[in-house]
């Protein structure tokens, strides 16, 4: 898109000039937001009653997948890939649900903190194995997905457990205005408190550096092993948050991993994160998750068979990525 820009004549720099590169850098995310807006308008057209409850439902239903996508994005940006996110979420989900069932509200806080630490530990195990064994990430995490899912089944063989009430309240309902669902606030708060500080620090820079060119990063003084370990630890933290959001939104623990692993990969690619590493951000991925979810909602409104909805979801995923790579191919030529 940028290749066709006319040569700029030298003149005083205006604020508009500074805006140009920012738009260009985030063109994909901006396009996605536009697409999301179109989808929302479309939804309102086909279902005039879509409103406050629809937005709240959207916010709650996207929360686990959005956090899973953020977790996946962190690893992929650093040049890895984690195929065990769904299993990790299931493990955190059952551990928290088992420990919180029938206990006091205060104990719930302890459980949540413990679950987050557990998530970091799971991530460190994954990352440590990747760094130590030098087996490709995809293989290690694929194998670990069996391990974590098995652990989840050991903790809780059948769905059950419970949740502290404050955790349930944290994501249901709205904050102040009806149009501001709590789940969305929680998501924004989590990303703002954890991801943005990381992104702005040298840690974030080394994540992107490692992902885009390992050798160059190494020669610039970045410790590749430590950076990968950090990426996986951060992934584990987000996966734990995603697992806790499952507990919060369902109120129980389910030991069988949901479709989150593969959907998180789909969402980040749709969101503009390059699977080759080093490019993209978490915001695009979150918008992509919302798009995927709202497409599903629209299908129900339109009475489309759920199976055809699956077909369309796959087709949209493939189609959007095809368009994206076509743009890249043309840009590379032009």
């Amino acid at each position: 898109m940028s290749a066709t820009a006319a040569p700029v004549e030298s003149r005083p720099v205006t604020p508009a000039d500074a805006l140009g590169p920012a738009i260009r850098r985030n063109a994909w995310t901006i396009g996605l937001i536009g697409f999301l807006a179109l989808l929302l308008v479309f939804t309102k057209l086909i279902e005039p009653r879509y409103g406050v409850t629809g937005i709240q439902g959207l916010a709650i239903s996207v929360l686990p997948l959005a956090l899973a996508a953020v977790a996946q994005a962190v690893v992929v940006i650093s040049g890895g890939l984690d195929l065990s996110i769904g299993s990790q979420m299931a493990l955190i989900n059952v551990v928290s649900a088992v420990l919180m069932a029938g206990r006091s509200e205060q104990f719930g806080i302890v459980v949540v903190v413990g679950a987050l630490l557990l998530g970091v530990a799971l991530g460190v195990v994954n990352g440590g194995l990747v760094v130590l064994t030098r087996v490709p990430d995809i293989i290690v995490t694929l194998a670990m997905s069996f391990v974590w899912a098995g652990c989840a089944l050991l903790v809780l063989p059948t769905p059950g457990g419970g949740s502290a009430k404050w955790l349930l309240d944290l994501v249901t309902g709205s904050l102040g205005n009806d149009w501001i669902p709590k789940a969305a606030v929680v998501l924004i708060a989590i990303v703002a408190l954890i991801w943005i500080p990381v992104r702005r620090s040298w840690l974030g820079l080394s994540l992107y550096a490692t992902g885009s060119n390992r050798l160059a990063a190494f020669r610039s003084g970045v410790s590749i092993g430590r950076t990968k370990l950090f990426a996986y630890a951060l992934m584990g933290l987000f996966a734990a948050l995603a697992g806790l959001s499952l507990t919060a939104s369902t109120g129980i623990g389910t030991p069988v991993p949901g479709p989150y692993t593969l959907m998180s990969v789909a969402a980040i690619v749709l969101g503009g994160v390059s699977l080759a590493g080093g490019r993209g951000g978490v915001f695009g991925a979150i918008v992509a998750v919302m798009i995927l979810q709202i497409i599903r909602t629209d299908m129900t409104f339109l009475n489309v068979d759920t199976n055809l909805a699956t077909v369309l979801q796959g087709a949209i995923l493939v189609g959007v990525v095809m368009i994206g790579s076509l743009i890249q191919i043309r840009r590379a030529r032009g």
Binding site: P136, A266, V311, V318
Partner: protein, 332 residues
């Protein structure tokens, strides 16, 4: 496999650690076969007397469809790709045959299922080869498409009775003299074709070339998009054949029948020494990898642990084997 390992053995009677590594790197089948023998021995220790011709037949019968799916992963991984749509394509093909066979006869039903699979492979191949979509995403998207369509087809045909044709049941679950499974009738020609195709034909070499260095392959005149499109069609056809065998083996036709074999199929190729980065590996290792995985799961099942523990051990063993294999064969 015409390695140069022989030269180092003349130097001394006992090999140094480095020359062992050379040997393993040149002949990756050796450590794999050793591991397989150890696992068989372990099976016999855990349940004395279990290792018998009939047991071997059961293991072979279960390993064959997994080895075919592992073949899909091996071929695609050689070009630096991966095929996550094999399970959806395989389940779909098995289901299509089972639902059509009563009306159309088994041969026509099989042809229709193969055509459907080839179409799915064609779309995947065009996405990966022409539009350069990452194979992980392309095959993931295609698996959603195929699964959805199979489900839709299932709803359309719900009224007619669904049964796996007797031929497939015979192929998938019977054995000659209760020892030699009949699915080898399908597998041996397929495996021979794959092995010869990879070693002796130009197309096989092009697969390695594209995976090893795509730019060099293109500059040498390889039409990489044609190679990739053909590859994913072959992969889908292989997956369909595996799907027929799975349907015959379990006597069940369901659109999610093969889902649980997806990750083991990737694991079989990786344990067998095929690099996921492309350009390195072969089908021989994958076959042994599929056997190893089948023996492991039978061993775990015979120990009487709960399913959860089996899963944990299965995953842990894959990591350990892959790590040891990488360490032993890595060039450093």
């Amino acid at each position: 496999m015409t390695g140069v390992a022989g030269t180092s053995s003349t130097r001394s009677r006992w090999r140094s650690a480095a020359s062992w590594r050379d040997l393993f790197r040149d002949r990756p089948m050796i450590p794999l076969l050793v591991l397989l023998v150890l696992l068989v021995a372990a099976s016999d220790i855990v349940r004395p007397g279990i290792v018998a011709p009939a047991w071997a037949g059961i293991i072979l019968r279960a390993a064959v469809p997994l080895a075919i799916l592992g073949g899909c992963q091996t071929l695609t991984m050689l070009t630096g790709g991966i095929d996550l749509s094999v399970s959806a394509v395989a389940s779909m093909s098995g289901f299509v045959v089972a639902s059509l066979a009563i009306n159309t006869g088994t041969p026509l039903a099989i042809v229709i299922a193969l055509i459907a699979a080839a179409l799915a492979g064609l779309v995947t191949g065009i996405g990966v080869g022409v539009f350069r979509v990452h194979p992980l995403i392309m095959t993931l998207g295609m698996s959603l498409v195929v699964l959805g369509m199979a489900n839709f087809w299932q709803l359309q045909t719900i009224q007619t009775s669904v049964g796996v044709p007797p031929v497939l049941r015979w192929l998938g679950s019977q054995a000659f003299a209760d020892v030699v499974p009949y699915d080898l009738l399908v597998f041996v020609p397929l495996a021979a074709l794959t092995l010869i195709g990879l070693r002796r034909t130009g197309y096989g070499r092009l697969l390695y070339a594209v995976g090893d260095n795509p730019v060099a392959a293109r500059l040498s005149g390889a039409r990489s998009w044609q190679i990739i499109v053909g590859l994913y069609i072959v992969s889908a056809l292989l997956a369909a054949i595996a799907g027929f065998l799975y349907a015959g083996y379990t006597n069940v036709a369901s659109v999610s029948l093969v889902d649980s074999a997806l990750l083991p199929s990737v694991a079989a190729a990786v344990i067998g020494g095929t690099s996921i980065m492309g350009g390195r590996g072969g089908y021989g290792g994958t076959m042994v990898g599929a056997l190893i995985l089948t023996v492991i799961s039978s061993l775990l099942a015979s120990m009487g642990y709960p399913e959860a523990v089996n899963q944990i051990l299965f995953g842990a063993i894959i990591v350990v084997v892959a790590a040891a294999y990488t360490r032993v064969t890595s060039e450093s």
